[in-house]
Symmetry: C2
Subunit: 410 residues, 2 copies
């Protein structure tokens, strides 16, 4: 019985509440807490990359030099010096137009997705997403009841000709959400020519872009091309995060919004939680202000690249013929397509029973999921654990294929 | 020109965005940053009550004993031991039914208001609020486009007979928002008999209650009666906060939701920001776990009571005849009603020019504001500053009355 119709409950929920459902990822993260399960599922950064000593020093400085300001209510926009630092860093990365006033500090970049949807999405309005796309973005947008338009995508990201086919008569598609660097879940990178074509198609269609870039710093051999936001200042809202280069438990991200959007986002931010913890913002500023990330990020890259190589080798050894993947050039994930006849969702309980967890690909699709897909994180476990986990997964897939063959035998 | 119709902008905003407007409180907080302005405006706790030394020790412990867990992604529900601690404390305060599983940690209790509205409010649905009510709650609910129903209130809070008149045929009024202890902005406390009558009226009408209790610990002579949530477990969602008893810059609050509501709130929380910073939750748990608040809160009470007395005396000396107020028995605010002919909004720029800031009462009303009202915080400034600020305000009001008289003279 739904809570909203229970005779004993006075709570009559909003229509949107029916769209909120238990998250597959949450349920899977619970599985990974079972003893003896090696998890390739969660997108958890390697905890040994967290700069604990730098955090300790920065925290002590904040609580010695500015304790009362750090612990008091603060401006909804965020901590001024950190906003300046973010703007300067983005200007260096090609977004030459960015001013500190456009930087809104958020409680993780996930909150940026919530605020953008709150300001932009009416019930029934089209919102475009890549195929597949980040599950957490679908979850953030869903409460505002959009109609998702899946944009056909290939190994380089969204197809420009598919953007041209999106609803674009005003108000049309409210925005297209795009993750150009080491996409979650596929790991793919949008190359320079595709970036140009995507921006041009979006401009022609009058569809603004929401560009999410949590993984851009995690490249292994070559930095990705400049952000889409560097090419269309007034048409792209850009989201960044400290979760993957410092630590996710601080919950610190930011949105850089064009002037047409920024004031409304700020008001939505204030209504949502007044402001992101000033304590955390000041600690992070103390950590990063003197070039710490320029020394720290290369160590993360080296570690993740080595783990990527370990997983690549383990996959080649363990997975049956017909399994497809592309080696990621950065980020945190391998995206696999299992041989015909396999359903990743059906394999998950068997894999957990065999001591390994992954995320099935289905929830990453707005429509028509490919049931053969799944996502593996190569950054959470140590190399020996990665080898062990992938070997176990390989055995589960081989067994499933054999079972399928036997079931097909008269 | 509205951003949504600007020909140069591709951003076509949601209808709700038109309801988001620059916050009066935000704009006023900016005024208070002007040099030479003594601010009685913001609801800022006295910064010298922040337990910096305890925070420093707790932070060092967290970063020594559990750094990786504190800095990693965490469960959307919140940190288990802190949820247990909150549940235990609420059981001691009369909410004997509360289980830790019902406690959802939020990014300040402001986020609890946002999540409840997200789950409960359809566009056009009635939401009831006291008259006047907390401005930040109006701001949190507004993006979900409710129709506000103002419940007539007196010095003891909402009138039960007004609750009976609210729309209550299903789905009817989605909830009534109520702040029974030292209400923001009026400072009033709901006495025991009124609590019983309000809960009975809400039960009869089938209207659930959202009970906000940020100030309940800040009583001066006598603890307030048990929460409404202690009287109607399945019909009251209860919000609490560490902002007024520890420090607001941590952004840490919680919602205790009845089982009918809790799962949807959790899903909305995950969509909004994944989880509240685990770092902050573990620090606060380290601070409070061994009875720190039992020693700390009495010192806040003593300090605020002394400041309340200073402001009461200063008001008696400075304000012209015909100014009305009730002495608050706790919390942070005096609520004044100026003599006939005065408009608080018109006085604000004159007051700021004279070196003192306050919050006009108008934005605290969902409908039909009383333009003669204003709110003064007695906790932010030191006693000598309070005397100076109230004296300056008194001169501004006297001058305004004289100007009104002269304007009325032929």
């Amino acid at each position: 019985m739904s809570p909203s119709t229970s005779p004993s409950s006075p709570w009559h929920m909003a229509q949107r509440a029916a769209r909120l459902n238990p998250s597959v990822i949450r349920e899977i993260l619970k599985l990974t807490e079972l003893p003896g399960v090696l998890s390739l599922a969660g997108g958890l950064p390697a905890a040994d990359t967290f700069p604990v000593e730098a955090m300790r020093e920065a925290t002590a400085r904040v609580l010695t030099e500015q304790p009362q300001a750090a612990l008091q209510y603060a401006a909804s926009e965020g901590y001024g010096p950190l906003r300046e630092w973010v703007a300067e860093r983005l200007r260096e990365q090609g977004m030459t137009h960015v001013k500190a006033e456009q930087v809104l500090m958020t409680t993780g970049s996930q909150q940026g997705l919530d605020l953008i949807a709150k300001v932009m999405v009416d019930a029934g309005a089209p919102v475009a997403v890549e195929t597949p796309t980040y599950l957490g973005a679908l979850q953030a947008f869903t409460p505002f009841e959009p109609i998702f338009a899946g944009v056909a995508s290939d190994g380089q990201g969204a197809l420009p000709e598919a953007i041209a086919r999106l609803p674009h008569d005003a108000p049309g598609t409210r925005f297209m959400y795009v993750l150009p660097n080491f996409q979650n879940p596929t790991g793919r990178v949008m190359p320079e020519a595709r970036r140009q074509a995507v921006v041009k198609a979006a401009q022609t269609a009058g569809i603004p872009l929401v560009e999410d870039n949590p993984y851009g710093d995690l490249w292994f051999d070559e930095a990705p091309p400049a952000p889409l936001a560097a090419r269309w200042a007034e048409g792209v809202a850009y989201l960044g995060s400290f979760s993957k280069v410092l630590a996710p438990g601080l919950r610190l991200g930011y949105v850089v919004a064009p002037p047409a959007l920024a004031p409304k986002l700020l008001q939505a931010k204030q209504a949502a939680d007044l402001h992101t913890p000033g304590f955390n913002q000041r600690i992070v500023y103390e950590v990063v202000k003197d070039g710490f990330l320029e020394r720290h990020i290369p160590t993360i890259r080296a570690q993740y690249k080595a783990q990527r190589d370990v997983m690549a080798e383990a996959l080649r050894e363990a997975m049956p013929a017909g399994t497809e993947w592309t080696q990621p050039e950065g980020g945190m994930f391998f995206w696999l397509r299992l041989p015909a006849g396999c359903r990743a969702m059906d394999l998950l309980p068997k894999a957990v029973a065999a001591g390994v967890a992954f995320v099935p690909g289905e929830p990453f699709y707005a429509h028509q999921p490919d049931p053969r897909t799944l996502r593996l994180s190569f950054v959470t476990l140590r190399p020996d654990e990665i080898r062990q986990a992938v070997a176990a997964l390989g055995r589960v897939v081989h067994q499933a294929l054999e079972d399928t063959l036997q079931a097909g035998t008269p």
